[in-house]
Symmetry: C2
Subunit: 719 residues, 2 copies
């Protein structure tokens, strides 16, 4: 065991202690006025009820899948590489359940603290901006650090539990179930949460703002609590599960790729490297977070960025140390090429931030174009936004493409045969080093959004609203950046996951680990690829439609409440005894959202399996068909997610730009709220919502789920 | 030379005579009242001016490209298979110019007659429905038959001119420039026409219907003539060029695939088969067209369908005869498997018609869902439409996938080595047999649309309007069906075009013709594939944006005219001397559209070349990177086009459904024109317009252009 490996348990324990400290720190803050507490409690109960319902559904599915995997792999798999099908089957099933459970625990605890932080952030805003930033950031940190720590610890423990010490070349193949479990939960968490949050948002807006003419977050709207709950279950729990599974699946994939180099060199460092780098990343992010201090009269985004750059700088040092101490003995200086590969990943993660800002902030051309187009109505607004969204795929593809080619090339320069792919794995790990910090910033978003909502509902003064409004705007930016980061990391990881799949196929076939050919010129591979592209479009259709269906249920319920007691709509008056039934709206949204997540959730799991089994039955080279499916599905998924995330963000900010009075007509008059341009921009924003918060983020998960499901079920496709 | 080959010149001559007869028949019809003639003349002049301007631009580009091809292939290509680079280069450049010229001639003549038919159709509608159907169909037939005949004759002549008689195994490689010339012109024709037509449409609607509240096709709108011109240059000239290049490029691709079988068997029938089948197809379509007789009080669509089924039945007989007489000697009974492959193509073309109807007619769920969603405003309408559009990729991918697998399998069953791909070529040829008829139905669309507009502007009575309204609705259906047909034929042809590319690469490398491997698991191929997917999205962004930019120019011009002379807007009064300046609007649209077509037009030509050259420079296996680019670009292009064509059609018909008073609210009241639901549906239709008439159809061409440009420039990628 290389000495440096001890950074993994050290970082794990440190992180857990750090998280406990954060929790204590957040909880000791003031909970505000009774009115605020009442609202906070409602959000808490709504979110909690949804999570319980959601995770019970997921638990049932997970158990079924675990049994199915066990039986299918056990029966159809045959005996492989000295392991019987059964030996692989039970380990995969167990790993699957552990992965699923870790993801669920991380989601639950993170959400618990995030929801508790809302209220405290709202209250802290009454003291100072810095206090409010601190609460939101530390609350977010609980989710960010706990999730990544659980992924690191989980992968490490299961690796050793399944014989990683004695047979490091076999164990990574046995723990892939962990990654599948994680991505399985992630898909449902992201889909269910995404459907819930956008249905509540769209529903609340359509009956509230549009039909009844009451403002956003108005307490008279029965759907307002559901809307606030949605921010937590969608952005917070959903993205958390997404990045939990990214880190888990990509670490496992990288370890599988390390096997070939372990076999070649006899050194275990190739397999353990991904874990060590991530250990350093945890510590770098921790220090980064601790340095954040928001100054009054400063844009809080600048403070967050300073912390991010501290994390990046420390991550680079950590990367250097790991590469040098783990590979210097073998590579005698050439290990610096691997450091270069890691730097590619880190630099890519920084570039993504700028590109995302360019496409989604109204300082730049794309959003301004959309706002301009709003002058001629919703149709031109939407055409402009769609075209911006499509255009963003250019940056996404070029960043991923160059990073892959470069890091692969750096890998080959290390002088070890077959280290090219390992170079892309190092780049991915480099990018994931700052994941805890990124995830913290992401969870910052829903916390500040909710804090703003609580202050609005509790009728806080304009000075306090100014602070939480500001924080809310920062939260929107961090959410957009995280999506960009999650997308590019998924793209960067894609190639390593394919190669892991090909290695897995070779392993099962008992062949020497090496690279198989995925020949697109074979008709069956081409058709598999065509079907994969289709699955991405179909999945998008299903998840967008799910939002629409769920939203219609909320709209019906709100209309019903308004009809049953029209007094609810009486002008704001704290003593008005006619209160809407928030809990009912929350419950109906949760039920409908849950029902609607099942079909799109099962599609990416069943599609590759069906394709693989059908082509196996037709006597084609099914494992290669599935490989083609996986690769082209990933490519199209990345492009589609780029369109949806960035297009949605651009529409959103075009609306905000008009609301900030930044749009003028040809005579120089400001076109602000209540103009037709604003109405058009609201339509664009409403369309962008399910794209950027439901379908788009679910596509990141889908990409990785395709990889883990095929990894786990590879035995089924092989005759 | 097999005896059956004589069907090709016979069909060619027959078709030319048939077209002349159609022209005479159309032109002898009555031109209507002086008012109608005045309008018809304006449309004619506008369309003519646009075409002249467009084709001059295209001609300049074509000459440049021809020179560039000549120089690049001549210098970089080196000597290949006994031919010097120069020998290949000049032939390719000449073939390119001939292909481009044939496409241009076909477009010009077809459009000329289509525009002359508008007026006569409008006038015939004053006599009877049958007369009007006849004029529109025969006018459409001139375009449909002339275009396909020119493609058949052009390919045949150039094949023999470049030594097809002596060296049938070399000639197909030398004539690929013809296909590239055809697709080059097609892309610009479709893009330029598509941008023009939708910019004029959107512009006329936004300032006319929305801003000034005057009805569609109202003579007071200065953009109304531009709108009518647009239907001709977009739907008619654009789709004509699309299918000209489809038939040309796919015939040449199939001939290249035949070479390997010619070499194996020594029989030229494998190379000539595609031409023979198409000869039979011409005759089958001709007879089909002659049988069409519309009864009064019958939906004209039924009459068109009867003719279509006659064509299909005769095409099947023609297919049988060609397969039997050309292959029986060699295959001794097994040739019927090839007949089966051809049937797959024919059946696929029929299924597509039904699937397209399902997704785009309001008798079925998808369009009804969109109309329902309009009740809650434009946002839900658009979300619903987008989800329907995405969903249609399922049917498209499954039809293409199954057709490919089946026809390939039929090909292998014929017992000849390597005949699998030839099976897909036979399927493609089977599908293309009825192309003349399909194209006739397509051109029927803009003719009836214009006839309706002319009658509206000339103030025809309600009875006449009822007839042309009915014809216009039929025209919308046939346009949608043609797009489905063009898309699936592009998908079916894709695989044969890849294989032709791989054969071409092998030919240039002097290797024996055989199949190379396109290994997606190689990082450079994967990155090439990723970039290809991106190019499809970027192309869509650019072409949608082009419509927006051009539309804004028209809007400015119309507003300027209204400001300069507000009397133009005075209520309808034939004696009102204040007339809008139609010609100015036509000219501005043409100029702007022309400028905007250049960037998206160059993208799919330059992108594969740049990718190939960069990877060649980096010492990767560039021809295989380009192959991956081509294949994945095709896959994503098909999916995106399916989304755009069908989504756009569904939005259009959801609006029509509301205008037909087919939507009811929860209390059973009809929601028709001037309701908020209708306003929402109009927004959806406006968004669908550039998708279904500009970007979507251009994507069909893009797919095939990628194939032809890489075929022609393959020498550049090989070191």
């Amino acid at each position: 065991m290389p000495a440096l490996f001890w950074i993994v348990p050290v970082a794990g324990v440190l992180t857990v202690l750090f998280v406990l400290w954060l929790v204590r720190d957040v909880l000791k803050h003031d909970r505000g006025t009774p009115k605020m507490q009442e609202i906070g409690d409602m959000i808490f109960q709504g979110a909690w009820a949804f999570l319980k319902r959601q995770y019970s559904t997921i638990a049932v599915f997970s158990l079924i899948i675990a049994v199915v995997i066990g039986v299918l792999v056990g029966v159809l798999g045959g005996s492989e590489s000295g392991y019987t099908g059964f030996a692989i089957a039970w380990r995969t099933a167990v790993a699957f359940l552990v992965g699923a459970a870790c993801s669920a625990v991380a989601g639950f605890v993170g959400m618990y603290i995030a929801v508790k932080s809302n209220l405290r952030c709202a209250s802290a805003a009454q003291k100072s901006l810095n206090d409010a930033v601190n609460v939101a950031l530390r609350g977010g940190g609980v989710a960010g650090f706990l999730i990544t720590a659980l992924s690191l610890i989980g992968v490490t423990v299961i690796f050793f539990a399944f014989g990683g010490y004695d047979k490091p070349d076999i164990a990574p193949h046995l723990i892939i179930g962990f990654g599948f479990g994680a991505s399985f939960v992630a898909l449902f968490a992201q889909l269910g949460g995404g459907i819930y949050t956008k249905a509540a948002d769209v529903g609340a807006d359509l009956v509230g703002k549009v039909e009844s003419g009451i403002p956003e977050d108005d307490p008279r709207n029965p759907a307002v609590i559901a809307d606030l709950v949605g921010d937590n279950v969608g952005d917070c729990a959903g993205r958390g599960a997404d990045l939990f599974e990214s880190t888990a699946a990509e670490s496992i994939g990288a370890m599988i790729l390390g096997i070939v180099l372990y076999v070649a060199t006899g050194s275990i460092v190739w397999i353990l490297f991904p874990l060590v780098v991530r250990g350093f990343g945890m510590i770098a992010s921790m220090v980064g977070l601790l340095t954040v201090k928001a100054k009054e009269n400063e844009n809080p985004m600048s403070a967050l960025n300073r912390g991010y750059y501290v994390s990046i700088a420390l991550a680079i040092i950590g990367l250097f140390v790991s590469v040098y101490f783990m590979f210097h003995d073998q590579l005698a200086g050439k290990e610096m090429w691997l450091f270069g590969a890691g730097m590619v990943g880190i630099i890519a993660s920084v570039i993504v931030v700028y590109v995302t800002q360019y496409y989604t902030e109204f300082r730049f051309r794309p959003v301004r174009d959309i706002a301009e187009a709003s002058k001629t109505g919703p149709a031109t607004n939407i055409i402009a936004g769609m075209s911006v969204g499509f255009e963003t795929t250019f940056a996404t593809a070029v960043i991923i493409g160059i990073s892959l080619i470069l890091s692969y090339w750096f890998g080959t320069k290390s002088g070890i045969d077959g280290a090219g792919v390992f170079g892309t794995a190092v780049a991915t790990m480099g990018m994931l080093m700052t994941c805890p910090y990124i995830l913290t910033m992401d969870t910052f978003g829903p916390i500040t959004d909710n804090a703003n909502g609580i202050n609005e509902m509790a009728g806080a003064g304009p000075e306090v609203r100014r602070i939480t409004d500001k924080l809310d705007a920062v939260g929107n930016t961090t959410k957009a950046l995280t999506k960009g980061y999650a997308l590019v990391s998924a793209g960067l990881a894609a190639f390593l996951l394919f190669q892991a799949y090909l290695d897995q196929v070779a392993f099962i076939q008992g062949a020497e680990v090496g690279h198989s050919v995925v020949d697109l010129a074979q008709i069956e591979v081409f058709v598999g690829a065509l079907l994969a592209a289709m699955v991405v479009f179909l999945f998008s259709a299903m998840s967008i439609k799910a939002v629409g269906k769920t939203a219609s249920k909320i709209i019906e319920e709100v209309r019903r409440q308004f009809r049953a007691d029209p007094e609810i709509l009486n002008p704001k008056d704290p003593s008005n005894p006619h209160k809407p039934d928030y809990a009912k709206a929350v419950d109906i949204t949760a039920k409908a959202g849950m029902r609607e997540m099942i079909a799109p959730g099962l599609l990416p799991i069943l599609a590759p399996v069906i394709v693989g089994l059908v082509f196996r039955w037709m006597d084609y080279d099914a494992p290669m068909v599935v490989a083609g499916f996986l690769m082209v599905g990933t490519i199209v998924g990345i492009m589609m997610a780029s369109f949806m995330n960035n297009g949605g963000g651009a529409w959103d900010n075009a609306k905000k730009m008009i609301e900030d009075n930044q749009l003028k007509d040809e005579n120089g008059n400001v076109l602000g709220k209540k103009t037709t341009a604003h109405a058009a921009a609201v339509v664009g924003d409403t369309i962008g919502d399910p794209l950027k918060d439901t379908a788009g983020p679910s596509l990141h998960v889908l990409i990785k789920l395709l990889a883990t499901v095929t990894l786990v079920l590879a035995p089924l496709f092989i005759k």
